[in-house]
């Protein structure tokens, strides 16, 4: 009985976690679940090689906090370098953002990093 109550209490306490749903859906949207945040993002398909592109994303905090000043970066861990450009992030309102100024200058595996509320969430982006 005690165990069931504890499970119920834990479920109630973690309820806001399941409520964190970044407002971006549809074809091509990918999701990264972090410990404190969730990011959903969509890049053009295919990702253009050595050409500027923009990336749409949405983020939410499991705590319910508002997302302020998120950052986006891309690196090539295999070769130890990042982009030659620093992306800028524009807020579209309602937890949605657009990152501009991305340019992946080499084919291969890039690591895309979203820094939101002090947490960095990563995904892999492959460029042919």
């Amino acid at each position: 009985m005690k165990t069931a109550a504890a499970v119920l209490a834990a479920a109630l306490l973690t309820a806001p976690a399941t409520a964190c749903e970044p407002p971006l859906a549809g074809p091509g949207v990918q999701r990264i679940d972090g410990s404190g945040h969730v990011v959903a993002w969509r890049a053009p398909q295919p990702v253009p090689l050595a050409q500027f592109f923009t990336l749409e994303f949405a983020a939410c905090a499991r705590s319910g906090d508002r997302i302020e000043a998120p950052r986006v970066e891309a690196t090539m861990p295999q070769h130890g370098h990042g982009m030659n450009y620093r992306p800028t992030v524009e807020s579209l309102g309602g937890g949605r953002f657009r990152a501009g100024g991305l340019l992946l200058h080499m084919p291969g595996r890039w690591q895309l990093s979203f820094t939101v509320g002090g947490e960095t969430l990563r995904a892999v982006l492959t460029v042919d």
Binding site: H79, N84, G100, L103
Partner: protein
């Protein structure tokens, strides 16, 4: 018996004939995808939004006149064509460019400039018009000035007439004064240079045949070049930087070429040139661009990091066989030497905190030949001997000017 032998030979030939694609290497799906990504050619070219006379026939005519005019330098010795010679693939054949004095870098070719993001070996210009303006003011190149350029129009009625046709007012009437005349002169020079494009090459024929599933046509491409291409996109990993239809990612790299220009003096390439670009009033974020900075994405987002020290722009490989000598300092005499440079690269010279992108390829002699054979197929029909554009007929002053 003799007749039977002939008959057998004939049968063998007939059987073999439909297999003309036997001369086509068994490129994998991934290789084919990479090869197709190196085209199509020629691409569609849009006017430069930062240059309001880009693509304008009057500005092109003015730019053509100016390009060949040594009076653009106060010494009357240096014209654009001094270094960018049409019969040398728009270069000069020298290791280092020579203006009023010898410079530290090799003269780059002028073909296909409209597709570029950065200009100059270190990307010191973010537009073709800025790249055309910079040498005019450099005391080692033209050693000119806004005043000297404006004075040229004042003493040449034909040039002044062309200027008026291109920009809608006489040079002397420019509200921005001599500086506006200088910037517009650079924009006319850019409009002309944008017309200098390279044509289709044997590689483009091969690429298109592969893309459209025509093995017989693809098989006409020499086998040595096919093997060289396989190295280029495969073990050589040249395509990591030399990618896309222009065979360049438009960015910068350190490929192990020494950057000492004199004892104790270095050319840091991208590192210094990006700082110079940012400090220049003529970059795309300044007031001289014609689109309010809308096309300045690269300039706005470019980052300066220590790794850019010693990096130089990845050159296009179209018509590369016609533009010797090579590398940013012209230190590599032939295309074969370029391939040998990558084959015997001093890996300790390349700074990398992770898996190095460049490793010595250690190519066999026949592989060197094949890579060179491939690179030579990136040459169009005109080759090094580009036709000199016809000079425009004398300019008739607009009717309004005669009244």
């Amino acid at each position: 018996m003799h007749r039977l032998h002939h008959a057998l030979l004939l049968v063998a030939l007939l059987v073999a004939a439909p297999c003309a694609d036997a001369a086509l290497l068994d490129f994998s799906a991934q290789e084919r995808q990479q090869i197709v990504s190196l085209g199509p050619w020629p691409p569609r070219i849009a006017p430069d939004p930062s240059n309001r006379v880009s693509g304008d026939a009057e500005a092109i005519a003015l730019g053509a006149r100016l390009f060949f005019d040594a009076r653009l330098s106060p010494s009357n010795r240096i014209a654009c064509v001094t270094c960018h010679q049409p019969d040398r693939g728009w270069t000069d054949g020298l290791p280092r460019a020579r203006g009023m004095e010898e410079l530290e870098r090799n003269t780059p070719s002028l073909a296909n400039l409209r597709q570029r993001r950065w200009f100059g070996w270190g990307g010191g210009a973010d537009s073709l018009w800025m790249a055309s303006l910079r040498p005019l003011l450099d005391p080692r190149e033209f050693a000119s000035s806004a005043a000297a350029v404006a004075a040229l129009y004042a003493r040449d009625a034909d040039l002044a007439c062309r200027y008026r046709r291109a920009f809608g007012r006489a040079p002397a009437e420019e509200r921005g004064g001599e500086e506006s005349v200088l910037v517009n002169t650079a924009k006319a020079l850019a409009a002309f240079q944008e017309t200098l494009t390279s044509g289709r090459t044997p590689f483009d024929e091969f690429r298109d045949a592969l893309a459209s599933g025509e093995p017989a046509a693809a098989a006409r491409y020499p086998l040595a070049a096919q093997r060289g291409l396989r190295l280029f996109i495969g073990r050589g990993n040249c395509v990591a930087c030399h990618n896309g239809p222009l065979f360049s990612n438009g960015e910068f790299g350190d490929v192990g070429v020494p950057y000492f220009v004199a004892p104790g003096r270095v050319d840091s390439g991208r590192h210094d040139d990006l700082q110079r670009l940012r400090a220049s009033p003529y970059n795309l974020l300044g007031r001289h661009g014609d689109d309010g900075g809308a096309s300045a994405t690269a300039t706005r987002h470019a980052v300066l990091e220590p790794r850019h020290w010693g990096e130089f722009r990845v050159p296009s490989l179209r018509n590369v066989a016609t533009t010797a000598p090579y590398m940013h300092n012209g230190s590599v005499p032939t295309l074969r030497d370029v391939v040998l440079h990558y084959s015997t690269l001093d890996e300790s010279r390349i700074h990398s905190s992770a898996q190095p992108l460049l490793v010595a390829l250690r190519l066999a002699p026949e592989e060197v030949d094949e890579l060179v054979a491939f690179l030579e197929t990136l040459t169009d029909a005109a080759g090094a001997d580009r036709p000199r554009p016809p000079m425009p007929a004398p300019c008739d002053p607009p009717a309004a000017q005669l009244k």
